[in-house]
C-alpha cells in the first residue's frame, strides 16, 4: 500500500531561488520576504489557511518557471499569481460548508480534556521560556530598548516613547519600525527554540 506523489523537485526550487539572487543565502532571505508578503496578503483577504495558499502560489510560480516562463520581478509576479489563487480559493470556499475553525488539531477520542489542557499549558510555558531566552540573548542596549518600548500603559506610553525617541535621537516612526523588526526577530528566535525543545510532530 505505497502511494507517493511529489509535487515539486529540488531543481524547481533552486531555479526560483536563483531567479531571486545568484547568492543562495541572499536568495533565501528574499524568498522569505516574499513569503511574508504573501502571508499578509492572504490573511488580509480573509484566508483561514494563509500558509497553504502561500505554498500554492510558490508551487505555481515554480511550475511556470519550469515550463520556461521568464520572470523579471519575482515579488510582483507572485502577487499576480496570489490574486488568482485567492479568486479560486474564494470560489471553492463559497461552495463549502462554513467551518468554525479550520486550523484545529484533532486529538484521539480517548484522550481526556485534562491531557489537552496540560499539553496546551506546557506549550505556552515552553514558548514563554524560549522568548525569555531570546530576550536574554539580545545585546543589553537592544534588550533595554524593547523593554522600554513596551513598558508604559495608556497615555504614558506616547510620552515615554517620545522621550525614548529623543534619547535615541530619532523619530517616533523610526522607533516603531525598529520595534517591529526586533519583534519579528524575537518571534523567529522563539520559533527555533520551541522547535529545538522537541515540540515534535504534533504541530
Amino acid at each position: 500500500m505505497s502511494k507517493v506523489l511529489w509535487k515539486l523537485t529540488p531543481e524547481a526550487f533552486d531555479s526560483l531561488l536563483y531567479s531571486l539572487h545568484p547568492d543562495r543565502e541572499h536568495a533565501g532571505r528574499l524568498y522569505e520576504n516574499i513569503r511574508r508578503k504573501l502571508l499578509e496578503f492572504f490573511e488580509a483577504r480573509g484566508s483561514a489557511v494563509p500558509d497553504e495558499h502561500a505554498d500554492e502560489t510558490f508551487d505555481r510560480v515554480m511550475r511556470r518557471m519550469a515550463e520556461g516562463e521568464k520572470i523579471e520581478n519575482a515579488a510582483s509576479y507572485c502577487y499576480g499569481v496570489a490574486k488568482f489563487v485567492w479568486i479560486e480559493a474564494s470560489r471553492g470556499r463559497a461552495k463549502e460548508p462554513v467551518e468554525l475553525d479550520a486550523n484545529t488539531s484533532f486529538q484521539p477520542h480517548h484522550q481526556d480534556g485534562g491531557d489537552e489542557i496540560a499539553d496546551a499549558r506546557e506549550a505556552v510555558e515552553r514558548r514563554l521560556d524560549c522568548l525569555e531566552n531570546c530576550l536574554e540573548q539580545l545585546a543589553d542596549a537592544t534588550r533595554q530598548f524593547i523593554i522600554e518600548y513596551y513598558r508604559a500603559e495608556g497615555g504614558q506610553k506616547i510620552e515615554q516613547r517620545k522621550q525614548l525617541a529623543a534619547q535615541l535621537n530619532t523619530t517616533l516612526n523610526a522607533l516603531r519600525l525598529r520595534a517591529s523588526r526586533l519583534r519579528r526577530e524575537l518571534a523567529k528566535c522563539t520559533e527555533v527554540c520551541v522547535g529545538r525543545r522537541g515540540s515534535g510532530g504534533r504541530g
Partner: protein, 335 residues
C-alpha cells in the same frame, strides 16, 4: 495615489477592510514591490494589534477591528500572540528592574558638624542622655524578667486561645486574645543555666531530596515506503507496557511546504491520531510524528500525509505501520 507614499489612515482602512477593491490592490501592489512600504505597514499593523491587546482602541474602532480583523483564526492567533508578547516583555522587564535605591543620608564629618551652634546643642543632648542613663541604671531589676526566663517555651503549634462565648452568644468582656510566642522552640535558656545544645533542632532546609530520575525511552521508528502488510519485519513498532510515547519518522517532505496534515488510522478507517500542523524538521526535512503510545493498540495502521487537512486533499505519501504491544516493560539496554 494610494501607493505613492505610506499613509497611516489608508493603512488602517486596509487593515479594517474598508478600502475599495481598486485601492486595496494598489496598496498591496505597493507593499509587494517596495520593501520599505511593507516594513511601515507591518509596524503600523503591529501597533494597532498592541493597542487592541491593551484595550486602548476607541470603541468604534475596536468594534470594526473585532468584526473584520478577528474574523479568521490566523488573525485571532496574531492578536493572541501580541497580547502574550506584551505581557511577557513587561513581566521580563519588571523582573530586571533594580530595587528602589536606598537613599543614604549625606554624611557629615564630625568636625563639620561640631562647628557653630551645633556644638552647643550636641553638648546639651549628651548631658541629657547621660542623666537618663544614670536614672535608669539605678532602678532595681524587674522580677518578671527572671520569671519569663524560667518559663518553658510554648510550642509553635499551640492554637490561639480564644475566650468562649456565653450561651447567649455574647463574648465575655475584657478578654484579650492571646497569641502564642513565635520564638523558636529551641535555645531559650532557663535562668542561670546554659542552653542545652543537645536539644538544638537543625534548621529546616527548603531543599527536598531529589527524586531519582526514572526515564523510560519513547518507542521510535522510521517508516519505509516499500514495506507492506505481510512482508514482515519492516515498519513494525513494538510498544511495551511502560512506553510513554511513540515517535514515527517519515522520509523527507516535499520542498516548499511549511506544514502538512498527517493521520494515523486503522485499516477499517478508524482515526487514532491526527495533526494538521506537521512541520518538516529543520535541516533534514523529515516529518516526525510524536504521539501518546496509549493511542495505538496492536494491529495494522496506515499513516497518510496530505497537503491540507481536507479529506479530498492531495495525498503526498502513505505508509503502512504495524504495532505490536508487549505486556512486558521496556528492556534495559545492555551496558
Amino acid at each position: 495615489m494610494i501607493a505613492d507614499e505610506f499613509n497611516e489612515d489608508v493603512c488602517e482602512r486596509y487593515i479594517l477592510g474598508e478600502l475599495s477593491d481598486g485601492d486595496q490592490e494598489q496598496f498591496e501592489a505597493a507593499y509587494f514591490s517596495d520593501d520599505a512600504f511593507f516594513e511601515k505597514y507591518l509596524a503600523f499593523k503591529t501597533e494597532l494589534l498592541d493597542l487592541y491587546s491593551r484595550g486602548q482602541l476607541p470603541e468604534e474602532k475596536r468594534q470594526k477591528f473585532e468584526k473584520h480583523f478577528l474574523a479568521t483564526a490566523p488573525r485571532r492567533q496574531r492578536a493572541a500572540d501580541a497580547k502574550e508578547f506584551i505581557s511577557a516583555v513587561t513581566a521580563f522587564g519588571a523582573r530586571l528592574e533594580p530595587a528602589a535605591p536606598v537613599v543614604k543620608p549625606t554624611r557629615l564629618s564630625i568636625f563639620q558638624y561640631l562647628k557653630g551652634p551645633a556644638l552647643a546643642w550636641a553638648v546639651v543632648l549628651i548631658a541629657v542622655l547621660a542623666g537618663v542613663w544614670w536614672l535608669v541604671s539605678r532602678k532595681p531589676q524587674e522580677p518578671e524578667v527572671a520569671h519569663v526566663q524560667t518559663q518553658p517555651s510554648s510550642p509553635i503549634s499551640q492554637p490561639t486561645a480564644i475566650p468562649e462565648r456565653s450561651p447567649d452568644g455574647s463574648m465575655p468582656p475584657d478578654q484579650p486574645v492571646t497569641v502564642p510566642s513565635t520564638e523558636p522552640v529551641h535555645n531559650i535558656p532557663e535562668a542561670g543555666r546554659q542552653p542545652d545544645v543537645s536539644r538544638n533542632i537543625p534548621p529546616i532546609t527548603t531543599q527536598t531530596p531529589a527524586r531519582p530520575a526514572i526515564s523510560v525511552p519513547a518507542a521510535a521508528i522510521a517508516l519505509n515506503l516499500v514495506a507492506t502488510r505481510g512482508e514482515g519485519g519492516g515498519n513494525t513498532l513494538t510498544l511495551y507496557s511502560d512506553t510513554p510515547k511513540a515517535i514515527i519518522e517519515l522520509p523527507k517532505a516535499p520542498i516548499g511546504r511549511r506544514q502538512y496534515s498527517a493521520v494515523i488510522q486503522t485499516l477499517s478507517g478508524e482515526v487514532r491520531w491526527r495533526s494538521d500542523r506537521v512541520k518538516p524538521a529543520a535541516g533534514s526535512g523529515r516529518l516526525k510524528l510524536s504521539l501518546d503510545a496509549g493511542s495505538l493498540k496492536s494491529g495494522d495502521y496506515t499513516v497518510t500525509v496530505r497537503t491540507t487537512p481536507a479529506a479530498n486533499a492531495e495525498v503526498i505519501a502513505e505508509y503502512y505501520l504495524r504495532v505490536e504491544r508487549s505486556t512486558q516493560k521496556t528492556p534495559s539496554s545492555p551496558k
